[in-house]
Amino acid sequence: MDAVTTFFEMGGYARFVWPAYGLVSVVALGLLVMSLRGLRCRQKELAALQERLPGRRGRVWE
């Protein structure tokens, strides 16, 4: 059991190592989620716009 706790203590530097890893993952995942959300809403917007302008369906990009 203590192997796990020693691992998480990081030789007493847990206060620095885990926040560092935590921060990197939060920012990276946040970046990813924001980018994907941006893509989703653009795709919905585009689909809605193309419904309204049937004449312009020429080249469908999504």
């Binding site: 990081m10 007493g12 530097y13 620095f16 190592v17 921060l23 970046l31 585009l46 193309q50 312009r56």
Partner: protein, 247 residues
């Protein structure tokens, strides 16, 4: 390469490449984390805090890699008037800026136990701080214009001017650093890296780079669709005018 230079070409290629990139990214970072946290030994001086290096160095690398991608894309946008290159430059700026910020944050988290302060005017950290401001300048200039094309071209010139200045800034900061304080106590990445430390570092760097390219592709596709939406809206207004005046 030609397939990539047109928007529809880019979207086709990106659809093919994305899944591979994401799997490569997950595998590399997974293996990297495993090696970094469990296998590689603690540093005799720094103890366990050396593990922060495995995310600090890749972040620094992505910060600089992002800026070079931005500068190259801007050059392509300016020289060959390729609108897709402008979009790649615009998409890579926020990613590069976030990783430059992460590099500074992990740097100070690593510096605290070693130097006792959250911020040390170490030459590398200071250069990354300046790079972060170059990113902010680029992003602010990009969005400071109503016409996106105008913003993209102005920001492209700034990216090139900044790219030319980065080595001068790096040199002047190193020179300034050595003037005020002999070589810092703790060389950030330590002496020649022991292989057991090198493999996780390489895994993490390549994993981060895959992540960068994958997110870049997502953002570029978003920019392409945004441009398409703008074009459709304009043609909608144009059509309303057009039908009004039988040309």
């Amino acid at each position: 390469m030609l397939g990539l230079s047109t928007p529809s070409g880019f979207i086709k290629v990106s659809k093919l490449v994305s899944p591979w990139l994401w799997t490569a990214c997950v595998l590399l970072i997974g293996a990297g984390l495993y090696f970094a946290l469990f296998v590689s030994p603690a540093d005799y001086q720094q103890g366990q805090t050396v593990r922060i290096m495995y995310i600090h160095v890749p972040s620094a690398w992505l910060g600089m890699f992002g800026y070079s991608v931005m500068a190259l894309a801007s050059a392509a946008g300016l020289v060959w008037k390729n609108p897709l290159a402008d979009l790649v430059a615009k998409a890579s700026a926020p990613i590069g800026a976030s990783f430059t910020f992460l590099c500074l944050a992990t740097g100070s988290l690593w510096g605290k136990p070693m130097w006792g302060t959250w911020w040390a005017w170490d030459a590398r950290l200071t250069s990354m701080l300046i790079l972060l401001f170059l990113y902010f300048g680029y992003i602010a200039l990009q969005n400071a214009f109503d016409d996106p094309g105008r913003g993209a071209r102005a920001a492209a010139i700034l990216a090139l001017a900044g790219f030319v200045n980065v080595p001068v800034i790096k040199f002047s900061v190193d020179w300034w650093k050595t003037l005020h304080q002999p070589a810092s106590l703790m060389k950030m990445s330590g002496p020649a890296l022991h292989p057991s430390m090198l493999t996780p570092l390489l895994l993490m760097v390549s994993g981060f780079t895959c992540f960068f390219v994958a997110v870049l592709i997502v953002r570029v596709r978003t920019e392409i669709l945004a441009a398409k939406i703008r074009a459709l809206r304009l043609s909608e207004i144009h059509a309303a005018q057009g039908s009004g005046v039988a040309g």
